[in-house]
Each structure stands twice: as C-alpha cells, then as structure tokens.
C-alpha cells in the first residue's frame, strides 16, 4: 500500500512529476491546442473531468479484475472505460457549448488517445493508491495538465507576435519552449515532503 497523504500526491502529480513536462504524457494536445489561452483552459477542464471519471472507474475495475484473477484484461478494460467517458464529455459539451465544441474540434475525440489519461489509470494501479489517493492523484494530474497547457498557450500567444525565423516557426520553437518549461518545473523537486 502506498502511504502518501492526498495533499502530497496532489502536489507530486501537479508540479513535481508534471504529466506533460516531466512524464511526457499528453504531448499531442499540448502541442495541438495550446495556441490560444481560452481554448487551452477549456481543454484542460475537459481532460480533468475525463481523468476524474476514468480514475474512479479504473479503481473499481482493478478490484474486480483482481477478484476474478485476470490481470491481462487491465489494459483493454481501461481503454474501453476511457473511450466511453470521452463520449460522455463530447455529448455534454456539444449540448451545452457548441462554440467550444467547434474550437476543440478533432482534439475532443482524441482525448481517448491522450496518453495522460491511460497513464493515470495505469500509474494509480501500479502504485496501489486507495480511493481517496486515486482521486487526489487524478485531480493533481488534471490541474498539472491544465497548468502546463495554460503557460504554454500564454507563451505561444506572445510568440505569434514576435519575429521568428521561418525554419524555427511552428513545432520546433514550441518544443524548445517546452524544454525550457520542463527545466523550470524541475525546480519543484523536493516539494511536499
């Protein structure tokens, strides 16, 4: 059993081992939808919601699978749960905010193939978190993802206005900035202990 207070786990997932910047999970949406601050925040919120739902479900599924002694089904059942949760969020957003639905575009169904969410489910199983720990882990990861996306979109909005050489423009400069951000986040190491 893992012994960490929910607060420690939250800080760890959010800052020290930030999902995007130090574990490299969810890079695709990080590069894809970090163009505008507005969209970035909403994408972060959608991911956070899916994370909470799938973390809760993964906790239940893990216990059922242990009970019936079928560990090889973990991966397959997790991915099915995540796909259904994303479908749910998609319908929800489509109904309540068609504008946001348009803005997120293809990246909304692609939350299914966002490694951050499957990674979350796998990590919480590996580390044997109990229910409260799992929830705070999911919340921390979600907040961390949103934070990374938000910082990145802020920088990219500035970058749009600056004079960048044509070969660096686009993905190359975004990755360089992500590298600097990642180094900055290394400064959080040792917090929350």
């Amino acid at each position: 059993m893992n012994t960490g207070t929910p607060w420690q786990i939250f800080i760890d997932a959010c800052l020290i081992n930030n999902f995007v910047l130090s574990l490299f999970l969810g890079i695709c949406p990080f590069l894809g939808v970090s163009g505008k601050t507005d969209t970035a925040v909403r994408m972060g919120a959608a991911v956070m919601f899916v994370m909470l739902v799938s973390s809760t479900c993964a906790y239940g599924i893990h216990h059922v699978l242990v009970l019936i002694n079928a560990p090889y089904l973990h991966l397959i059942s997790y991915i099915v749960v995540i796909a259904s949760a994303v479908q749910l969020v998609e319908m929800f957003i489509k109904k309540f905010s068609p504008a946001l639905f348009q803005a997120l575009g293809i990246f909304l169904p692609l939350i299914t193939t966002n490694c951050a969410i499957l990674g979350l489910a796998l990590f919480q199983t590996n580390r044997q978190y109990d229910f409260v720990q799992s929830l705070s882990f999911a919340l921390g990861a979600g907040v961390g993802f949103t934070l990374a996306l938000l910082i990145m979109s802020g920088i990219r909005e500035r970058l749009e206005l600056s004079d960048v050489s044509s070969i660096v423009r686009g993905a190359a400069v975004t990755l360089m900035v992500a590298g600097v951000l990642s180094m900055a986040f290394m400064g959080f190491a040792g917090m929350g202990r």
């Binding site: 490299f24 991966l75 990674g119 070969i167 993905a171």
Partner: protein, 211 residues
C-alpha cells in the same frame, strides 16, 4: 488517393513503403506519437526496443484491421480498432517481459501506453481501413520503420551527449563528463526541437513549401 488504389504494381508498393518512412515520417513530418518518442529515448537500446514494439503492434493491427475492414460497422470502427490494438499491446507487453525483464523495467508504463500512440490508430483509420491487406502491411512496415528511425535519432543524440556512450559502448573515453540535461526530460524536448529544425532547414533548401 486514386494512384494508391492501383494494386499489384511493384513500384507503387515500394512507393507506399518509402512514403511512410521518409516523406510522411510519423514523428518528424506529421508530429504524431510524440509521447513515447520523448519519454523512452534516453538510450539507444530503449529507443530501439520501443521502436520495434511499436512496429510490431502497428504491423499486426494494420493487418487485422485491413482483413476485417468490411465487417466493421462504420459507427463503432474506432472502438474496434482500439480493442484490436490493445490486444496486441498486451501480447507485446508479456513478450518483452519474457525476453528481457531489464528492458521491461526501463520502459515501464510506456509499453502499455503504445495503445494510445496516435500513429497506430491514425494508420488504422487513414490507411488500413481503406486498403487491401498487402498494401496495409507495407504501409505499416514503412511507418513503423520510420517511427523506429525517429526514436533512434533521438536516442543516439541523447545517449551520446548525456552519457558519452552509444548502446552502452563508451565513445569519448572515461574523461568525458556527460551532460545530465540530455538524460533529463528537458533534454528530450531540446533534441527533438533540434531535429525538427534540421529537417525544416533541409526541406526549405529543397524549396518544398512549408506545411
């Protein structure tokens, strides 16, 4: 797209193979599947293992998807593709565990995360579900090798600069002090950024319009 439908011609098949490897390289050109490329390429061996595992899953799932492409209803195709991919990833995970426990430990959760590699789902959706088996297999092989090549590019630079070795063999001698940043997460972003820079530069020199 129409030219791709002409089956049975050797040069067309070679073209499909080469296209996935170079012109539409999944990592350097299409910017897909970045997560594993960045995360596990801190050494050449890890990069190679990751590339091979991904190629295997890509090849097998493209073959199966292409075989049953007429049987899958359109509405549930993505879910079916993911289930097929997840099955092969489970196979690969147990396979790697059996072959080398050490590699399994250093790749960790990233073997399971091959499921959510956009390259594989992307090829299943964009190519294998529309083309005959032979072509899909070639395409998968081309893209898989292209992906492995990209992993190796990163792994090579990061291991060389980070530890002064290539696949565990010392290059610069014992007096070389490794750049620890290359092994750390930040280095992965820098190296991939630098490679993209190089490829952009090459493309610009050739006069191909920017994407």
């Amino acid at each position: 797209m129409t030219s791709e439908r002409v089956a049975g011609k050797a040069d067309k098949n070679v073209e499909v193979l080469i296209k996935g490897f170079w012109r539409d390289n999944p990592v350097f050109v299409m910017l897909l599947g970045m997560c594993p490329v960045l995360a596990v390429t801190n050494s050449v061996i890890n990069a190679l293992a990751m590339g091979m595992a991904t190629t295997f899953v890509l090849f097998m799932s493209s073959t199966i998807v292409s075989l049953i492409r007429r049987l899958i209803p359109k509405q549930v195709r993505i879910a079916s593709f993911i289930l097929i991919i997840a099955t092969f990833v489970t196979v690969v995970e147990y396979l790697i565990q059996a072959i080398s426990l050490e590699i399994h430990k250093s790749l960790g959760a990233f073997i399971s995360l091959i499921v959510v590699n956009c390259v594989i789902l992307g090829r299943a959706e964009a190519f294998a579900s529309k083309n005959p088996v032979g072509k899909s297999m070639l395409d998968a092989l081309g893209v898989g090798v292209g992906f492995t090549f990209a992993c190796l590019c990163l792994g090579f630079v990061r291991e060389l600069l980070g530890a002064g070795t290539i696949a565990g063999v010392s290059v610069f001698g014992s007096s070389f002090e490794g750049w620890s940043i290359m092994i750390l997460p930040g280095g992965a972003f820098f190296v991939l950024g630098a490679w993209l820079l190089l490829f952009n530069w090459l493309r610009e020199r050739k006069g191909v319009p920017q994407t």
